[in-house]
């Protein structure tokens, strides 16, 4: 049974996360072997397959095609077949591009072995972290998977009615579930997120190469790519936004951290190659990001604005304030991004947003809540110490050194006027700096940039640019040291730097490792069993209230009812009820804390709650003693009370 499930899962993964993107890219770049390395090829196939899956499902929904196993199979196979045919047709015509390779694939055998070894180690760390506590129970994942299950059950995309969720966060899980047959109460969702996270490591490594190759030698760029993979993949591998986000089901950030580096990589590659097809992919990737996660899109747009400002200042100083020469040099690149075909692409994207599916966060209210002066204490920025704790002291230290070295390199390079290559250098340096500085400012001084978002959420995005900066520092400095200093001294220094990184990065892993607690997992399964029982007896008009404070896996209860996103009602953490910025409902709290008070009785009447699910021994005394409530269900940790006189 499990073998069959696994087989179907891999078919589903191939159909949705590899094949469509593979043939799409193959059609666009006929001579793929010359253009991309195998790592870039696999990465782009994965990223664009995810994007294509989202757009195909949205289009099917728009055309009122019900999402079923057969309709999905037909559409995905048809899409792949069409692009397979087109890619073959193009090859037959003999239109073979003469472009050179992107350069990423120039690894020596030793480097390639090291690259794969680091990738394997990154996977092993994540696998062991995720294996402990594999029973799905985390809050965010429970909320998200409800929407994926809604897609699977109704065969159409949901209308959220709130800006918190975006469709791109849920489609892939629904499609993989439908095609594989895995239950949602399984490790399927975490496994898909694991896959996305591993590909985001490839993306950041490829992106590091692409950026560094813009202003340093290819050797330094290759070493930077290797060190970036080491730092992002293995050091602090279990903290945010890495394995912790996979386990927690922070889907938007995880997918955002895949698309942001790919988008930046494509942007730089479009400039390096002056290739409008790269610009097309850049626009598509950006659109994919927009349909997946609001915060990631918001951060990317800020980073891009920061890039434009830094680029303009650098470029103007390089060209001695001669704007006409600057424009003359920039214009060929401008044409790459605004070619006829790219304008059509942009038009299609805009039409898709306006007429096919508008992301739920694209409304005035949602935008106003994210832009403006910080409205809460959690949004006023983090102190430097908090950032150090969040990203890791070693990484931050070497990233700052990397930024200093890059500043020196930049000032030397930018003072020279050198037409064509200089624009690539300016762009690479500006984008690298902007990625780091913009997120740093958004996290520490959000008021300066008019950002009104929880600062601790923003800071998780700084991990990747910091990894690039610290990797660049190590690659740059040690290349010179190994050339100029005695080999013994260079080797000792190298091992000191990497060794301290391992101590700091791996200590963080051992601190955050989750304890496998079968008793806790058993509690989760009891919550699920109780939910299944309750669903069998609760009538449509009868409401259920559950306790989020003590019950394990309670957000997953809604998957057993599938009646509404807010069903069952939930008693939240008590601090949530004391919100100075707006009035919160308190019935969910009062119906458990003071069920016999006038307020409590009024709340029961108002909400129609008939059943209350609690952890045994945690605020159950008032229900045990009451004549108005009967215990109707018990397992060692979960109890259900029924209100006797509810109407």
């Amino acid at each position: 049974m499990i073998i069959l499930l696994l087989f179907k899962f891999y078919i589903a993964i191939a159909l949705t996360l590899f094949i469509p993107g593979h043939f799409f890219i193959k059609t666009l770049f006929k001579e793929q072997k010359r253009y991309f390395s195998i790592v870039e090829w696999v990465l782009l196939s994965f990223g664009f397959s995810l994007l294509i899956t989202n757009f195909l499902v949205i289009a099917m929904n728009f055309l009122s095609i019900k999402l079923t196993v057969s309709s999905l199979l037909i559409v995905f196979i048809l899409f792949s077949a069409i692009f397979w045919f087109l890619s073959r047709k193009n090859q037959k015509l003999g239109e073979i591009s003469k472009v050179s390779t992107s350069g990423f694939g120039g690894f020596s055998k030793k480097q390639l072995f090291l690259f794969l070894g680091i990738l394997a180690l990154s996977c092993i760390i994540r696998t062991f972290y995720l294996a402990d506590g594999i029973v799905p129970q985390t809050t965010d994942l429970g909320h998200h998977i409800y929407w994926s299950k809604t897609i699977s059950e109704t065969g159409q995309l949901p209308s959220y009615g709130m800006p918190d969720f975006i469709i791109g966060e849920h489609i892939i899980f629904a499609v993989v579930q439908m095609l594989s047959g895995f239950s949602y109460i399984s490790s399927m969702s975490v496994s898909v997120l694991f896959l996305i996270n591993v590909f985001s490591l490839l993306a950041i490594s490829v992106c590091a190469y692409s950026l560094v190759a813009g202003f340093a030698t290819k050797k330094i760029a290759r070493n930077s790519a290797l060190f970036t993979l080491l730092i992002a993949g293995t050091f602090y591998a279990t903290s945010s936004p890495q394995a912790k986000f996979i386990a927690g089901g922070v889907i938007g950030n995880t997918i955002g951290n895949l698309f942001i580096p790919i988008t930046i990589y494509l942007f730089i590659l479009a400039i390096r190659k002056k290739d409008s097809r790269m610009a097309t992919l850049f626009y598509l990737c950006l659109a994919g990001l927009g349909f997946t996660h609001h915060l990631s899109t918001f951060i990317f747009l800020y980073v891009f604005l920061g890039f434009l400002v830094i680029f303009f200042v650098f470029a103007v100083s390089v060209y001695r304030f001669n704007l006409s020469i600057l424009w003359k040099n920039v214009f060929p690149y401008f044409k790459v991004f605004f070619s006829k075909w790219n304008l059509v692409t942009l038009l299609i994207i805009v039409c898709f947003i306006l007429f096919v599916h508008t992301p739920s966060y694209l409304n005035k209210t949602a935008v106003n809540t994210a832009v403006g002066a910080p409205s809460k204490s959690t949004r006023v920025g983090l102190p430097f110490g908090a950032i150090t704790l969040s990203v890791g002291a070693w990484k931050l230290f070497y990233a700052i050194l990397g930024a200093l070295v890059l500043s020196i390199v930049a000032s030397k390079k930018l003072l020279k006027k050198n037409s064509r290559t200089t624009i690539l250098q300016i762009a690479s340096i500006s984008l690298t700096f902007s990625w780091f500085l913009t997120i740093f400012l958004m996290s520490t001084k959000p008021a300066l940039l008019k950002v009104d978002i929880i600062s601790s959420r923003i800071v998780s995005y700084i991990t990747f640019p910091l990894a690039i900066f610290s990797a660049f520092f190590i690659a740059f400095v040690f290349q010179r040291l190994f050339k100029k200093a005695p080999p013994m001294i260079a080797q000792i220094l190298f091992f000191v730097v990497i060794g301290t990184g391992m101590i700091s990065g791996f200590a963080d892993i051992s601190d955050s490792v989750r304890k496998n607690d079968p008793a806790e997992e058993r509690e989760v399964m009891q919550t699920y069993r109780a939910s299944r029982y309750l669903n069998s007896i609760a009538k449509e008009e009868e409401n259920v209230l559950k306790d989020h404070i003590y019950l394990k896996g309670d957000t997953w209860m809604k998957l057993f009812f599938m009646r509404d996103y807010k069903y069952p009602l939930s008693r939240s953490f008590l601090r949530r009820y004391a919100d100075p910025t707006k009035k919160r409902e308190t019935c969910t709290r009062d119906m458990i804390a003071i069920p016999h008070s006038e307020i409590g009785k009024e709340c029961f009447k108002e909400t129609g709650v008939k059943y209350i699910v609690l952890k045994d021994g945690f605020e159950t005394a008032q229900f045990e003693r009451s004549e108005n409530f009967s215990k109707i269900y018990t397992s060692p940790n979960v109890v259900i009370y029924q209100k006797n006189n509810a109407k």
Binding site: L5, I38, I134, I185, S186, S187, S635, P636
Partner: protein, 132 residues
């Protein structure tokens, strides 16, 4: 690269499935009883229906006793097979006896487990009573 991804992914999926199945059946029993308190309070045990669900991987012997005024009026030994359930409905005789003592204390108790305490009762137990 394929194997680097394939091995951990397969492990996570396989481990997830086995862990969920294992946790789902091992270590606890479930009792559900609709309208129990009202039934006991009214002294009308005819509506009392108790579902014992043995979610463990082994057969469990449940001792079910019904007491009125701390006096045991019924006692049953029920062997519930592993991963199955059993429904208890009081006999006519018990229903009648309970109705004659409607205002008094009723206790319906369940005991199960392998180890017995000094008095010979099984250690794990659960009670329903009409007392506050």
């Amino acid at each position: 690269m394929f194997f680097i991804l394939f091995v951990p992914l397969t492990f996570l999926l396989w481990h997830g499935e086995t862990a969920i199945n294992k946790r789902a059946v091992v270590g606890y029993s479930v009792f559900s009883f609709l309208n129990s308190k009202e039934s006991i309070k009214k002294g009308d045990l005819s509506a009392l229906k108790i579902n014992i669900e043995n979610s463990e991987e082994e057969n469990i012997e449940y001792l079910v006793s019904i007491s009125v005024n701390d006096r045991q009026i019924d006692f049953q030994e029920i062997l519930v097979a592993a991963r199955s359930n059993f429904i208890i409905e009081p006999s006519e005789k018990i229903i009648e006896e309970a109705s004659q003592n409607a205002s008094n204390k009723y206790t319906v108790s369940f005991q199960w487990g392998e180890e017995k305490d000094k008095k010979g009762a099984l250690k794990k137990q659960f009670e329903l009573s009409n007392e506050k």
